[in-house]
Amino acid sequence: NAGVTQTPKFRVLKTGQSMTLLCAQDMNHEYMYWYRQDPGMGLRLIHYSVGEGTTAKGEVPDGYNVSRLKKQNFLLGLESAAPSQTSVYFCASSFLAGGKETQYFGPGTRLLVL
């Protein structure tokens, strides 16, 4: 049982390049989330999904797209990277109901955009 895994762990991009971050969970959770964490800030929600085939915008969605084609995977895409997207990205998953509202986090992806 690996929990939540993220690929890659670290990436350097040039401005304008694109990339996809992959999140996978093996806990059969319905809900998945993408956050970014910047120095001195808590986590800010980028996009989330409440089930396979569904996605919704969070607090800071601009410049990002997501897809949830399979229940266990949640992809975060950057179509044209900007230096402002330099951050640490965390994926999380959870149940929501029945008191099982804990979010389980991946180890993070550190992204540097030059």
Binding site: V4, Y31, Y33, Y35, G40, M41, G42, L43, R44, L45, Y48, V50, A56, G58, E59, F90, A92, L96, E101, T102, Q103, Y104, F105, G106, P107, G108
Partner: protein, 112 residues
């Protein structure tokens, strides 16, 4: 921004002392949770308190919630060097909300 505040931003104590961290939020909530983050790692859930609860314990952790003041506190008793980490509160708003909103965190250093 819907982010609240955590107080203090940083806290340094000696091993064996108690550590108290405070969290304020801005909306009505369904529940409030506390998470811990070791340097360079993902967050780990510590404890959840529901809006109709006032206090909850888990091992050396004690969480209080005052919904009239929109505030919560996390107390870690008899701290250990291994408790050194950042601590974040996060809250889920009312029915129909799927999102957690996180505070900015308190960085705790426990000196052996």
């Amino acid at each position: 921004s819907q982010q609240g505040e955590e107080d203090p931003q940083a806290l340094s104590i000696q091993e064996g002392e108690n550590a108290t961290m405070n969290c304020s939020y801005k909306t009505s909530i369904n529940n409030l949770q506390w998470y811990r983050q070791n340097s360079g790692r993902g967050l780990v859930h510590l404890i959840l308190i529901r809006s109709n609860e006032r206090e909850k314990h888990s091992g050396r952790l004690r969480v209080t919630l005052d919904t009239s003041k929109k505030s919560s506190s996390l107390l870690i008793t008899a701290s250990r060097a291994a408790d050194t980490a950042s601590y974040f509160c996060a809250w889920r708003a009312g029915a129909g909300s799927y999102q957690l909103t996180f505070g900015k965190g308190t960085k705790l250093s426990v000196i052996p």
